[in-house]
Subunit: 409 residues, 2 copies
């Protein structure tokens, strides 16, 4: 896959080319029926549309609705996803670059605030990998994702303390300014535990306070992505954070391939689970719209999936572990950030090539309504699976296998 | 949703209306890249195409490929899915109707044999619900799915012994005739355990021998579908059947909403998991293409999902438990049977309105190749989740919840 994509926006492409009646029907099937019809567009102020045009980012906003209840008021919150990129030359001094990326994120968070967003999630390790060369036909593009290089320097210099690091302090200022919960995924340096590195998300409360952190539970060892060169499996379990705008959790990147991980956040009470990711087209694009949505369905909660955009190149050659010659290109991050609802409805995705802000207004009451309707939690038979996994984890586990006697010995 | 669907075949509709370059790209994204490109069509003999036309059923065939290995020969098998309907008047005597449905299934299994199919799976409770009224604009349509009625008579008369019942004996003849493994989902009467009923799949070996049975693990209590009126949660665990053509398991219908159920079949060694289902459009169509595929991805095995077709009506009114007046219509079964591969590739779906035979040629070696590449099993941290579920299943479980101190008491 290259920068010259034939399709920048899947939803718009379908809408543009299909006859209206066929589009209408397929929209329902492919994007889900939220209370009878697909999620509805929310109008975006002209001022923001102009800003998005001049600043070259995609902006989209949708509403998920729920039934009215007698005893609970609707619990309406607006959620935001930001997919972004660098905005200074990669050869500039680090301080200059950090200031530039802060400015860009500030613009996007300010735009989210204009849309009334209450909880925003930034992309995986948003503030960290901003000092690499890049080869790209249309700036701005994504920040390079350095884990393919296996190099420890200079990348690990950009890890920071979760509670006191630059990115956290910046997000605290923004959170306070906008009365907004901010989820800030960073590379964490854990000075109190042997200086080890973690892939961590920091949760900042709407008053600008540090609520806590949660670490990436599942670490890929896939081709370019052996991230365990840098950090290991998280030790924070499946924390859920109760904020002023709902109970949120963060399933970072590769954890989205693990249904048990999604499940545990749900069983701890998460109403919204964010999945900040960095993943490229040839590897995972067919999985992208499946896994997040399946999680939202199976666990009856809202999911917000974020992926970066752009094609990146590194200064030193590296192997992809796929039999090809060493090379400097990593692949195309295809953006496509989206929200999925518990009722299998979803928003369209953001652009596959541009930065963007995705906004969803949700009524958190929908989660319990769907649980009552589908009953997955009631019919899940957790004790059976607790027993199953207890037995399965033993090295001498005997699978429940019935062999056709006709096969002989 | 009514019988007059604007889209009978999603894949063909996209192919027909999208510009070629956009279709090509979206095909890769939506249907997956199997070893670099979407699954390939297999040519169907002219004789079969004519039969499908004259007998009015859809027939499609595709190939999933895998990399060549040095020490393992390719393990090529052909799999089949049949979505079918009744073929006698619902007011005919039961014996007449059973003979008619047998003839129809025989035609479809014979067609599968012509395509070289080694393992075929029939739809949920295929031989049972064939004695109801139906209102349908274009016969043949699906067999009615009687669980919405809550009536015990006459439906429970059609339950049969798994090992000796009519459907099993028929499948044994067909299996022997074609050297074919047949998965036969039936309604089972368990005379040795208090005459209780189960929703069961019987596995017939390619020599016509009875290998065993496996029961539906998760039972819906969703609107019309409170099937626990008739049978309860299965007690056969997560059996996997080693046949001449691979290790297979059967996740019946509602079990597809449960990731742990899919997982357990995979951990017991399943290479192919069938999901015979009966589900209607307004309820579940947006979930259909998500859940089976997610299972194939998360568990690195092949999945074959089957759904019946047609719109049905029952003689006595029943409530849908959705606040609407009692009524006789159940909804539209949308067919769309398909195969998903471990690498996120999938076949198109069969027709949303017609009976059909879906054939997939797979190289079972692909499963382990994908496991080696993605490493989900290695990175799954099963012991952590065994502990998690052990704690979670206790009534006094305390979720791992961190409350924003700024929220006050």
């Amino acid at each position: 896959m290259s920068n010259s994509l034939a399709v920048d926006d899947v939803y718009k492409t379908l809408k543009e080319h299909l006859p209206e009646d066929k589009f209408k029907e397929l929209e329902g099937v492919l994007y889900g029926y939220n209370c009878g019809s697909p999620v509805q567009s929310i109008s975006i102020p002209q001022k923001l549309l102009l800003l998005a045009q001049s600043e070259d980012f995609d902006i989209q906003a949708y509403r998920f609705t729920a039934a009215k209840e007698q005893l609970r008021e609707p619990r309406i919150v607006r959620l935001g996803l930001i997919q972004n990129s660098i905005h200074a030359k990669t050869t500039d001094p680090v301080a200059t670059q950090y200031a530039a990326i802060e400015r860009r994120i500030e613009t996007l968070i300010d735009a989210a605030a204009e849309m009334g967003v209450n909880v925003v999630c930034l992309q995986e390790a948003w503030s960290v990998y901003y000092v690499l060369f890049r080869t790209c036909s249309h700036p701005p593009t994504a920040m390079p994702f350095a884990f393919c290089t296996r190099e420890k320097q200079p990348w690990l210099e950009f890890a920071m303390d979760a509670e006191t690091g630059l990115a956290t302090r910046f997000c605290q200022r923004m959170a306070k300014k906008h009365n907004m919960v901010i989820v800030s995924p960073i590379l964490e340096r854990d000075a109190t535990h042997g200086d080890v590195i973690w892939n961590t998300a920091v949760i900042i409360g709407n008053q600008g306070n540090y609520i806590g952190k949660t670490r990436k539970n599942h670490i890929p060892r896939v081709g370019d992505f052996n991230e365990s060169t840098y950090y290991m499996e998280g030790d924070t379990g499946h924390r859920v954070f109760e904020t002023a705008f709902g109970k949120i959790a963060v399933n970072i990147c590769y954890g989205r391939h693990h249904p048990l991980n999604w499940m545990a956040y749900g069983l701890n009470g998460a109403e919204i689970v964010f999945n900040p990711s960095a993943t490229v087209g040839a590897l995972s694009e067919p999985l992208w719209a499946i896994e997040g949505r399946n999680a939202s369905i199976a666990n009856s909660y809202f999911v917000g999936c974020i992926n970066r955009v752009g094609t990146e190149s590194f200064p030193n050659e590296f192997t992809s572990a796929d039999g090809k010659p060493a090379h400097k290109d990593f692949g195309h991050f295809y953006g496509s950030s989206y929200f999925g609802g518990p009722d299998a409805s979803r928003t369209p995705g953001l652009s596959r090539t541009k930065e963007g802000l995705m906004v969803a207004e949700v009524d958190l009451n929908l989660n319990r309504q769907v649980r009552d309707k589908w009953g997955y939690q009631m019919t899940a038979r957790y004790p059976m699976y607790a027993d199953f996994l207890r037995e399965y984890k033993e090295p001498d586990y005997q699978p429940q296998l019935i062999r056709d006697p006709g096969l002989g010995k």
